[in-house]
């Protein structure tokens, strides 16, 4: 159709790269051609493809980050001069702003916010993952009204956060619809555990679709033949879920969960609007950083932001390490090669062989 005549250049290019596999990458399946060699051409091409991304991110994030770190090392001595004006003397205080995070009243608030942030992240991300998986499984089934289900599952993600915060605030009002339906008199927006629960319910509602949609996309690229092969082997629905679906969507799921975690750790709007600022039961690290800068203590506000950044970074690193979210592509072939025992890969092997034969035929022609 488009290019029936192979161009010699492409031919040689491919051939050059068909060098023997290095022993360092044992996981690659034997049917695969080795593509592990670094060539200067690829490096240059990669640099070309990646530089716009890096440029944009550097502009938007590096500058604020650097200035926050800088700011966090200073403290404004906010004394008033004789005329009642704020004398703005900013002095370098080294790591004092950081040290202050851990002592006294501010230390107590920090630890409280730290605990809340962690608690919210763990609970909401866990629930979102479970619910998101269910959503994806539901969306992946064939039944009437499926597209309606898909759209409705995404509604919560589409509602602007501030509006959804307000919506839930009124739902959880002392005489709101939640108490009305439950026949209870829970004060969801006052200090206490009920407010934590309210935040979790609203947050999970809002963001489970994120995981659901990403996982659905992951499910879409699982070859149907894998399921057929499993069925021939007599595997039931649960077996298929446990040994095919879950392992195969794992890379996508891990990326989804990672991004949800990064977001949940920085949670701000929802508790702020739903329960209100200054309520210790739901105060998160982001809210604390906001509050500090709202009170013009920019040094400690920046220190909070930097600490939060480091915390998020550590969580991400640990997550990647423990759960093995596939960052660099080092393990990219593991799952595929595992599958080579199934019929699916056999099918592909056949396809491969056919292609190779056709290629040979064409070459000899």
């Amino acid at each position: 159709m488009t290019s029936t005549v192979p161009s010699p250049g492409a031919q040689t290019g491919t051939l050059q790269r068909t060098t023997p596999p290095r022993p360092a990458t044992p996981r690659q399946s034997t049917t695969r051609r080795k593509r592990g060699n670094r060539s200067p051409g690829e490096g240059r091409m990669a640099a070309m493809l990646l530089s716009p991304t890096i440029l944009v991110l550097a502009l938007v994030i590096m500058y604020p980050l650097l200035s926050a770190v800088h700011q966090s090392l200073f403290r404004a001595e906010s004394g008033l001069d004789a005329d009642g004006f704020v004398s703005e003397v900013e002095s370098f205080v080294g790591l004092a702003n950081y040290a202050d995070l851990f002592v006294g009243e501010s230390g107590r608030r920090f630890l409280n916010a730290f605990a809340n942030t962690t608690f919210f992240t763990v609970t909401t991300v866990f629930l979102e993952t479970v619910l998101g998986l269910c959503m994806a499984l539901a969306m992946n089934r064939a039944f009437r009204g499926r597209s309606f289900l898909r759209a409705s599952i995404l509604v919560p993600w589409a509602v602007p956060t501030a509006v959804s915060g307000l919506l839930w605030r009124w739902i959880f009002q002392s005489d709101g619809i939640a108490n009305n339906l439950l026949g209870s008199e829970v004060l969801w927006t006052a200090e206490g555990n009920a407010s934590k629960l309210a935040v979790i319910i609203a947050e999970v509602w809002k963001t489970a679709p994120f995981i659901g949609l990403l996982v659905l996309a992951g499910m879409q690229i699982i070859p149907a033949e894998v399921y057929e092969a499993a069925k021939i082997d007599g595997a039931g629905w649960w077996r298929q879920l446990g040994s095919i679906t879950l392992p195969l969507v794992k890379p996508t799921l891990l990326v989804a969960v990672l991004f949800r975690m990064l977001d949940a750790l920085r949670m701000f709007d929802l508790p702020f609007v739903l329960v209100g600022p200054g309520k210790e039961s739901v105060e998160t690290l982001s809210m604390l950083a906001w509050d500090e800068s709202n009170q013009l203590r920019y040094g400690s506000a920046s220190a909070f932001a930097v600490v939060l950044f480091l915390y998020v970074a550590v969580v991400a690193i640990v997550f990647v390490k423990v759960l093995g979210a596939d960052v660099t592509g080092a393990k990219e072939l593991k799952l595929m090669s595992k599958k080579s025992r199934t019929k699916a890969t056999r099918t592909r092997d056949i396809a491969d062989r056919e292609i190779a034969e056709q290629k040979k035929a064409e070459a000899t022609r």
Partner: protein, 305 residues
């Protein structure tokens, strides 16, 4: 051997078509089927309810009069379109704000996808040094609290004269959208078999052709999903848009909503906010319906069946 043959091979091996996958999932032993389908439908109904009940409440609230906005009746009584009229009342320029949101979110999505696809291709298909460092840097930008970037960015954008411009919103939005696009697309591309592209290249396609005609159609579910997620995220962005824009002709819908005012000082314009919430959500739902078809059918269409 043609490209379409390759695509067929791709469809046969690496990529399922939705109906077969669904058929596989549905093909259960008959005896168990009734019991299971009941519980499945109960589960579906629960998911439906959890997702839609609060949204239903939003719609109902938006259709009440200001005076009885906090009623708990399941249907608005008396029914009123007062809030919707107020939302589009001339002084708020809400129609313009919707258009601005569309421009900002649309541009963000397009840029994020283009940059994301390039980057993901480089990371999943090319060999070069510092690959993991670059991935690390990319995701590190998603780790800084959003509220802390506002003041430095305001200073920067003021200095370079970007206040009241679309790019002052688009560029910061990209800082969320790009990491998600890169990571997600990288995962997708890595899962797709490399053989097909190589076969295509052996067949004479250039790298670019192999990428465009083989890899990209296969990665369609990932691309469209990323598009939906980043579009909605930028559509809902608030604090940057609020800080960088003070000209109502350029402001986005979320900012316009924040400026709704109750009849007097302490009255929250709750009804209007809910009405506006419905108005900004509905186009997204329609868009999702359209894109969802692409997610499922992209493969089939790409395979030229």
């Amino acid at each position: 051997m043609t490209i379409s043959d390759l695509r067929n091979a791709a469809a046969d091996s690496g990529a399922p078509s939705a109906p077969t996958a669904a058929a596989a999932a549905a093909g259960q032993p008959k005896a168990k089927r009734t019991w299971r389908s009941y519980s499945v439908y109960a589960g579906l109904a629960l998911i439906f309810a959890y997702c839609l009940a609060p949204f239903y409440w939003m719609i109902v609230s938006s259709l009440r009069r200001t005076a009885d906005i906090f009623d708990n009746t399941l249907l608005p009584a008396p029914f009123s379109l007062e809030n919707y009229v107020k939302v589009f009342d001339g002084s708020t320029m809400f129609g313009q704000a919707l258009l601005n949101s569309l421009i900002v979110a649309g541009t963000t999505t397009v840029f994020a996808l283009v940059l994301g696809v390039f980057a993901a291709y480089a990371i999943s298909r090319l060999n070069f040094r510092f690959k993991s460092v670059i991935l690390g840097v990319i995701i590190a930008t998603s780790m800084f609290p959003g509220i802390s970037v506002v003041v430095p960015l305001l200073r920067l954008f003021t200095d370079i004269g970007w206040i009241n411009t679309y790019q002052a919103m688009i560029v910061p939005n990209l800082s969320f959208a790009i990491p998600l696009a890169v990571w997600n697309l990288t995962t997708f591309m890595k899962q797709l078999p490399f053989d097909l592209e190589e076969a295509a290249m052996i067949d004479g396609c250039t790298k670019w052709q192999a990428f465009r005609k083989v890899l990209l159609p296969l990665a369609a579910p990932g691309v469209f999903t990323t598009a939906i997620l980043t579009f909605i995220h930028s559509w809902n962005e608030f604090i940057i848009a609020l800080s960088m824009i003070n000209n109502p002709a350029v402001q986005t819908a979320t900012v316009a909503i924040s400026k709704f005012t109750g009849a007097t000082e302490f009255q929250a314009p709750f009804g209007e906010q809910m009405a506006a919430g419905v108005i900004v959500t509905v186009p997204l739902v329609i868009m999702v319906l359209v894109f969802q078809r692409r997610i499922v059918e992209g493969l089939t269409a790409g395979a030229g069946k």
